[in-house]
């Protein structure tokens, strides 16, 4: 087939301009409702469960999962589907373990919960360190992905693409705060779900709406092996370690956790997880069909010739079944996806810098609203500029493993102290700091020594650490350090305040 991919077609440009115009007018509307810190960080806690469910889904369904998983299924068949299931299973765990206590105890960031009854400065600084490390790895992967994708789809030079994502995203966050960011996520989630559904319908239409006929076409072209498990789970320990990072890493992603403060109470937080899980489950159920459809109709050779990683499988399929206008729509949606995810990450990064470090660690909780908002906006610009700079510096590097690294750090450095602070009376400041620092350093070090970096990127002969995914080691170590340090020190004040915390955790007494 002939493809117009890589040239800015009229339809792609029009859809793109419509999305940017729509999101910027939402931002203009939101800017007039964003004056206090409560509005800037938490949208005035005015978001409904359905809206927050869509926004959570929007925050989570990145271009990597939309384009990446479709590509993985197209090129590697069933293995891509195994990978897709891992991306969903964190959501029920988030519901069972974290969502409600998080909403009841915190104000703007997950560090509010960890630091609830502990000494503010050390815990805030350590938590912000864990949060920012996670966010930087995540945003770096997004930015490099954005530069490559936009170059592939619109033919725009890499640096221009990265800078334009940075500028538009900064406009959302800087002026519209959490309210604008939430609505950008909602718009993006609806467009993405609509686009993928339409793509699936158009694709299944060619197979008389029978997935069986689609699978038969894939098997006829690439053999039965495309529908069987391949080499992805050859090492069960590594597969379980990846599964742990994907599942429990979600419980430590700062930009996801922050969204729970936008709803009025714990019941609404619960509802938003159910909606989010539903939308994301639906998305991961139909994305493999898109991947199989691309393999059957577009063909693996053409997909690989445009991008060896397979990222263009879904856009190519869109062009084949819906023509250039549909390709333009899908390309614009992919761009909106990147913008929305980067905006969410930037707001979370800014809140760690301003709310945790400035307001609580430096000012000990005493800063005027005006000062806090000013620092929050400055922190937004700092984080956004760093994100753009990282995107440009890492041009041409293989950063796909960075998302995995972000999940590994989140589940090793952020999740253990969060859970222990909620359930364990004896948990204290020393425990929190040791747990965060050990989890963060160990997960990063083990990834550097793993086959992914040590062999694939640095071309050493064999890896020092055998697993590609460190979570199965780094997360238990973080728990162990947290428990040992807590048991070796005493903090009577923290134990005493656990009673207040319990009433707030379970009954919402005194919740913000």
């Amino acid at each position: 087939m002939q493809t117009t991919l890589g040239t800015p077609t009229a339809s792609a440009v029009i859809f793109f301009l419509v999305i940017v115009a729509l999101t910027l007018s939402v931002t203009y509307w939101a800017a007039r409702r964003t004056r206090s810190t409560r509005e800037f960080y938490a949208a005035g806690r005015s978001i409904s469960p359905l809206q927050n469910g869509l926004a959570l889904a929007g925050d989570y369904m990145s271009a990597a999962s939309f384009l990446g998983i479709a590509g993985l299924v197209a090129l590697r068949g069933y293995d891509g589907m195994i990978y897709a299931t891992g991306w969903l299973v964190g959501w029920p765990a988030l519901m069972f373990l974290i969502a409600e206590p998080l909403r009841n105890l915190g104000k703007f960031t997950f560090a509010d919960v960890v630091a609830f009854r502990l000494r503010q400065a050390p815990v805030r600084i350590a938590s912000a360190f864990g949060a920012i490390l996670t966010l930087l790895f995540y945003v770096l992967a997004q930015m490099v992905g954005a530069g490559n994708l936009i170059r592939l789809m619109f033919g725009l030079p890499y640096e221009w693409a990265v800078v334009s994502v940075g500028v538009v995203m900064l406009a959302y966050v800087l002026f519209g705060g959490m309210l604008a960011t939430t609505w950008v996520q909602i718009i993006k989630a609806i467009l993405l779900l609509f686009g993928v559904s339409l793509l699936t319908l158009l694709l299944l239409w060619r197979f008389q709406f029978s997935p069986g006929a689609l699978y038969a076409a894939v098997a006829a072209r690439y053999g039965q092996a495309a529908l069987e498990p391949g080499g992805l789970v050859s090492d069960p320990v590594d597969a379980i370690s990846l599964g742990l990072a994907l599942m429990l890493g979600l419980l430590g992603l700062p930009h996801i956790l922050m969204r729970f403060y936008t709803v009025p109470d714990a019941r609404a937080a619960r509802g938003s997880v159910l909606y989010a899980t539903g939308f994301i489950a639906y998305f991961y159920l139909i994305i493999p069909l898109v991947g199989f459809g691309a393999a059957a109709l577009v063909g693996r050779d053409l997909i690989r010739s445009i991008d060896p990683g397979g990222n263009m499988a879904a856009p190519l399929l869109a062009e084949l079944v819906g023509g250039t206008p549909f390709l333009g729509f899908v390309a614009a949606v992919a761009f909106a996806t990147i913008l929305a995810v980067v905006a969410g990450l930037t707001l979370a990064g800014a809140s760690a810098l301003s709310h945790d470090i400035f307001t609580h660690a430096i000012r000990n909780g005493h800063a005027t609203e005006h000062e806090q908002i000013r620092v929050a906006r400055a922190a937004t610009i700092v984080f956004g500029a760093v994100a753009v700079a990282l995107g440009i510096v890492f041009k041409g590097q293989n950063v796909a493993f960075m998302v995995g690294l972000a999940f590994a750090v989140a589940c090793s450095a952020n999740f253990p102290p969060l859970l222990m602070s909620i359930v364990w009376r004896r948990f204290n400041t020393a425990g929190a700091v040791c747990s965060i620092v050990s989890g963060a350093l160990l997960s990063v070090t083990l990834i550097l020594l793993s086959p992914t970096v040590w062999v694939d990127l640095m071309h050493h002969h064999s890896a020092i650490f055998p697993l590609r995914n460190p979570a199965i080691v780094s997360m238990p170590v973080s728990f162990l350090f947290g428990i040992a340090a807590s048991l070796l020190t005493r903090e009577p004040e923290a134990e005493l305040r656990f009673d207040d915390e319990k009433l707030r955790t379970y009954l919402g007494v005194g919740a913000e």
Partner: protein, 101 residues
């Protein structure tokens, strides 16, 4: 902490509410672990089973993968129904006893 809150905290009802909350969420978490890691271990240990054809070409692995996704959502729904029906009512009653709301 005042006497009213102290009494609430020490009451058998509050303790029972907290323990039933964790019992429900830990049972559901255990089911989630069995569902997902069971699937992964099955792929690692018995690839032939997942490769078995259940249709013309469709393998058993395809509906199993979909079942993991749907099952995970159902577990979430079970928790929400339980919490909305039982937990919230009990929590509201205990809050009212202590003079809130």
């Amino acid at each position: 902490m005042d006497a009213k809150h102290r009494a609430l905290l020490d009451s058998a009802e509050f303790r029972q509410l907290v323990s039933s909350r964790w019992r429900v969420s830990l049972v559901l978490s255990a089911l989630l672990f069995v569902l997902y890691y069971g699937y992964i271990i099955l792929i690692a240990s018995n690839r032939a089973l997942l490769s078995r054809r259940i249709g013309e070409v469709t393998t058993l692995g395809i509906p199993l993968g979909a079942a993991v996704i749907v099952g995970a959502w159902l577990l979430t729904a079970v928790y929400v129904v339980w919490a909305n029906r039982y937990y919230d009512r009990e929590a509201a009653r205990l809050r009212a006893q202590a003079g809130h709301d």
